[in-house]
């Protein structure tokens, strides 16, 4: 009973922490055009478990902001929408990546190894 709320708190903070990273991850791998499901698997293989129902709407929003562009590929039997990063997307990606590194460094200087308890 007492453990559960802690887990929930951790889970909700994890979610907050990861939220922005999905955008950066998409921008990092979409130099090469990919369709949604392939992107999902690429991210999953890299250890970023993103849910399909998060990723697909996100791709649309990034496209609406002009960071991605898309094309339908109907050559195969199953039509697929391929997303690719735009020039604007590259600028944003570089800015986000720089910020990620800066945050990482900043947090590293703050964190101290906890001394062993006994």
């Amino acid at each position: 009973m007492a453990a559960e709320p802690v887990d929930q708190v951790v889970a909700s903070h994890f979610q907050e922490l990861r939220r922005g990273t999905v955008v950066l991850a998409c921008l990092l791998v979409l130099d090469e055009p990919r369709y949604g499901y392939a992107l999902l698997r690429t991210l999953g293989d890299a250890g970023l478990d993103v849910e399909a129902n998060t990723l697909y709407p996100l791709l649309r929003r990034l496209e609406a902001q002009g960071l991605l562009e898309s094309d339908w590929n109907t050559d195969e039997s199953r039509p697929r929408k391929f997303y690719r990063i735009t020039g604007l997307g590259i600028r944003v990606r570089d800015a986000l990546e720089a910020e990620r590194l800066r945050l990482d460094a900043a947090l590293s200087t703050l964190s101290r190894p906890t001394p062993p308890e006994d």
Binding site: Y35, G36, Y37, E51, A52, N53, T54, Y56, P57, R60, A64, Q65, G66, L67, W72, S77, R78, P79, R80, K81, L88, V92
Partner: protein, 339 residues
Amino acid sequence: MSTSTLTPRTESYLREVARRLPPRTREDVSRELRGTVADMVDDGVAQGLPPAEAERRALEELGDPALLAEDYGPGPRHLIGPAHYHDFLELLRILVPVLAGLFGGLTLLGRLFGEAGREDLVTYLVLSLAPAVGAAIQGALMGAGIAVVVYAVVERTEVAEAVRRGAWDGTAAEAEEASRWSVERLRPPRPERDSTVGELVWATIALGLAFAAPFLLSRPLFREGPLAGEPPLDPAVWTPWVPLYLGILLLAWGWELLRFFRRRWSWVLFGINAVLDLAMAALLITVLRTESVVNPVFRERGWVGEGFAQIGVALVVVITVWDLVATFLACRRSVGRRH
């Protein structure tokens, strides 16, 4: 990769998503999701699941179609957001009591005149009060509804503005500059207010009822029976007392307006009110002691006893003293807080 044909279950899932999307994106999103579900089903089948089970898992992973469609939606997913919530509450606090009071008060006045002449007092009051309460509730609901609609619209126009400005183009920086909060936007400090709009409305209604009372009481109370055609108020009090009484009520209403626009209590305000209180008390006590007040027919029939004048005078004294003390305390508290 096999091309699995999608079942009616998937199609109905996609329909559930699509019908919640803006029309121009419907087709495109459905097409993309259809391919995704097919890919997910293929993966499941490759892992050895039966197709129906693979489909179930794929759809359940995508989750509630309503929530998925919401994630695609452009607009805010709340009615009134934190930026406007406080202003919304303020508008609510003004509109609800004002409209409730206005609707209720006007209806009550109308009914009191409309229902005059009813045989018994209880029926008369019920027939007058019940519609007034109903109208007050309607007024309150209307006030709440107006506040909600106003801020829901504000919320959405602001989002549309932001989208139109474009989040990333060159003008965005200037637009953001213009919309950014700065100390210049602070409202100049206004003197605090001791009285609310609601208080003014209620005072107006109370004074309105007091104003209507002599007119109401000059109409016959009964349509049948021994007192048919007899008004409860003695017609003799009309000259000169009723016009004086109405005059003092008008001054009292003027005082309420003055109090509202001056915002804070002051000893001058208290003094004017005290003068009006005492004038009204003097008038009522004089009338009670020198005039019959009630229609003499009522006295002859034994409907009104000897104690009427004493009880009336006592009531006037109690109410006057109570008002003087209450306004004195309110004024002292307000003035004291400022020093």
